[in-house]
Symmetry: D2
Subunit: 326 residues, 4 copies
């Protein structure tokens, strides 16, 4: 087998996530990007307009959708029918329940029959299912930085369920995409901090769905826009259940995970620790009954393109960390 035998096409290659995926795959030892499609035709980018015919001519093993959820939802059924496997970077297939799309995304899902089949593409949790999946829903950036530290604790019943878990997220602006908007105009973001989507952000149901035992009543997520290009820092406050050891649960869970690092006592990650890496770094501090967890990722890597590569590696039989260690 040729070392470049795995073939991937990217739809939406001109956005920040698609561009990062293309850039990272350029140094992947076993995966080749064979097609680059724009969401909208974009001459400067070297990307071509998408068509099924054109896609077919490239014979990709997997199609990565780096598109808005509306377009992902529209393209996916046809792509699956044509026999392609898909990694979708949008939110279109992350939730299992069409009602949650109605409530949090404010639309009627166009392909609800696929929600049950779609595999949530968090390799640390679902590596076996991803391996054989037709449709992988690449997790949201905030969700990744929340679920990685919290899922093992919920699974271990290590969180006092009478107390609310509070997640305060801060993100760089690339998370808002490449399209110019008044709220991402330089002068509006620079020298500013703002909260947005308060109690309404679409990553909230994604988090709650992936945290066994979590409920909307006992889980509050607040995202903030910060004047940096890349990076997410989540600050999570919770109350551990009696005698639970947050640190040992997380250390044990991720002892051999290539991309999750649990920091030793007294050290906390920041965004620069993880920029341009596929790492999720996690720090833990406790005092009295309270525990604070700080997690950091690069929203475009572990929060998007890097995680997509982890999923491609699993789907295509490459080494789990291939292309992600430079």
């Amino acid at each position: 087998m040729n070392i470049y035998s795995r073939r991937v096409a990217i739809v939406g290659v001109t956005g920040y996530a698609g561009q990062e995926l293309d850039r990272l795959l350029a140094s992947h030892p076993q995966i080749q990007v064979v097609g680059r499609f724009a969401s909208k035709a974009d001459e400067e980018s070297g990307a071509e307009p998408f068509s099924l015919e054109k896609l077919g001519s490239y014979a990709p093993d997997v199609v990565v959708l780096a598109t808005e959820h509306e377009l992902s939802m529209r393209l996916t059924p046809a792509l699956l029918q044509a026999g392609y496997r898909i990694v979708d970077m949008s939110g279109a297939f992350r939730l299992k329940n069409a009602g949650l799309y109605r409530e949090w995304y404010k639309f009627e899902h166009a392909a609800p029959e696929l929600l049950a089949e779609a595999v949530y593409g968090l390799p640390e949790s679902y590596s076996e299912q991803i391996h054989g999946a037709r449709l992988v829903a690449n997790p949201g950036c905030y969700a990744t930085a929340t679920i990685l530290p919290l899922a093992p604790l919920y699974k271990a019943n290590a969180i006092d369920s009478t107390c609310t878990v509070v997640v305060d997220g801060k993100s760089g602006v690339s998370g808002a995409g490449r399209q110019p908007k008044p709220e991402t105009h330089f002068c509006e973001v620079n020298e500013n901090i703002s909260a947005y989507g308060i109690l309404k952000h679409r990553h909230t149901p994604e988090m709650v769905s992936q945290l066994p035992g979590a409920t909307f009543d006992r889980f509050v997520f607040t995202p903030h826009l910060i004047p940096i290009n890349r990076g997410i820092l989540n600050t999570i406050v919770l109350r551990p259940a009696n005698r639970a050891s947050v640190r040992s649960i997380l250390s044990d869970t991720y002892a051999t995970a290539p991309f999750v690092r649990v920091f030793p006592d007294g050290r906390m990650p920041n965004v620069q620790n993880v920029t341009r890496t596929n790492l999720c770094s996690i720090g833990i501090a406790s005092s009295g009954p309270n525990t604070v967890i700080v997690s950091a990722i690069d929203n475009l890597v572990k929060g998007a393109a890097g995680q997509a590569i982890q999923n491609l590696n699993l789907m295509l039989g490459c080494e789990p960390a291939a292309g992600l260690l430079s």
Copy 2:
């Protein structure tokens, strides 16, 4: 009486807070800065080294200490003995209990006998006491942005006391002072976000002390350093007690306060809304049992120099908002 009849001296005029105070007082209609002292002699700044003799020659009505808490603690007894009134911008006299200094500041207080007398300089809460005070402890920046929205709720028993109140603070770098340090070197702050002082920050006991009913077990404050010069945004998550109306309590409390604005439903403040003003803006959102409050101040104005001027106005009989409305 001459319109410039009130005389103020500033010790520590070369730091960011002292400099801002000097700048703001330059357009105050009734207060004149008569002396400007450096903490350390600083030739470029036009500030002179402090001495009691030199201070005496300026005959100030009030001395403002824009100094580190060690120096404030050392100067204050002598200044009071010499008959001066003081606004201290450090943390040296904000707590009532010398034990809290031992626990949170890690020092033995040098003038514990003054802690009871010192008035906490939050004009929205203590205007009468400030009016006649000898020693006013100007509040901390994070504490101001926390106590203004939370104190009325605690006072009204409007918070479910079985649930932890979580305050996530984000501050610009001027809050860390002017002294160059590795952690405030441009390249370390820019394109970065970091949490610090987790579960150990000195403003925590200040907040808990000022919030009747709050306890360290049920109150978590986490500050973050953000790559902007000025501004604090606090994101506060709490669970209101049964039937309590957070919005109406805050709106009623601050209906006539010149510097606190409760935003209408659906609007949230950001840092640019308040930069270079003495305002604290407050937004409120609720969903199910949870409420999120976002408060914003300029850390150098309402969080330091502007609030000091509010205190000076009260102490010296000026209009409450004098010098703060341009």
Copy 3:
């Protein structure tokens, strides 16, 4: 005469320059903003759509156009005909020669008959003409920071005319206006520096026109976009003519100018020196035959709204620095 007797209307009050003008005039002791019009109707801003009827109802003494040059060029003839005096903040009337508009702005001027009458609104050069003008063309931001240091030198024949004068301008992003564009999207500006409009920028003919003896062959201006909100720094390299003293010419010219400061030998201005002031600060260094001049302004104040107020003060008989000294 009532202290608020001068009445000004602003068209384009929702852009950065219009907004700054409105903000600054709020503390002007003698000028009142009586009408606020949006270029396009903008509900959030409190601005109303422009109409001549509505304008008439406010009876303004002067109309300030904080609009794009196309709109300024279209509105001006009708406003003059209706008897209003105008300060236009766009480039529409800064050049005397309609051919320059064709060459540098790429349009045919719609009101070339007004170009001769329009007074270039640089108060340091044209205060008498501004006093009685019907139409004042408020200078461009880069042009202001260039002409103030260079015009006295050209007038004194102090520049070696065989050598090219090189002006390297760096501007904050507010100079590009409020409209979101791909090139002002946060992620494209942040952590970036770019040159633009190289050898084609529209402020070039404005500079050359105002510098007696300058020619396009011997004058090169290159603007750059820098990741800050406000401020312009111009770095100017020239060769003085024999025995000319750049420093004494500039010091003498601006000895009594309220808003131009010539720094002493060894000190150079930076952007923070002038932010939120109407100052233009100028530093000078020489070595061998070469001289470097650095000038700094706030592009929204001395480069736009503050300078417009200087012009309004002259037109309306207020003190030259009224409303600009806080």
Copy 4:
């Protein structure tokens, strides 16, 4: 020969340049970092204090000095005597004339006898000499971005020598090193632009020395500090000699150079184009007699660590671009 057979030690590995070199060499296919020394002992960094004995125990093929010029000047003679080859990243051996050190660096050179032997480490100009050199002086960051576009033009007599060449440099803050200083404190750099070292910067003699025919009278370099972490943009204004084609000279010179890109007409590089790459991108625009060249590099890569790797590759017989293409 083992693929890791080349052994390099880094002195000064805790500074920004040393750190970047260590990071980049981690993925070099043929070079191994065998020793990491701090300038000053720095426990956190994992670097050890330098000693000749300790260095000897690692048996490096080349020692890279990522140290200040004082330390480089002091260590170099002893290292050469002990038989090591050196790449020095400081300015200590970049100039051929000890008098220039007296004039521009203000010190008496401690090893003037080595200046003649030292090879200026610009691989695009001196690859053969670098191949066999004992001592390579890695160029300055501004100098690299200046000499690459200008040296071919000077060599071809393509510049009108009666006209001054003006280089306006803008650099990110990592160029100022890791040591906290008042002028690199976050609040002093952020929302600011400043010129520094005007007509006195130490890279000026380095540039003039490397540009045949350039003179201090006809060459002006002005550096600026810009609020970004990484990157240099140089804007160069010159007057080409009669009929000289700047574009064709540069295109021809760098047709096969792996790290220099001459942009097509109409396109200009910016800093983001080159960040975290070893590229120098060059754009050219002309109008009438004037030409503007814009060059961009990452100051820590092509301006420091990446260029050092190019030099190591030449000295150690690796492929010219090894370790620099990821």
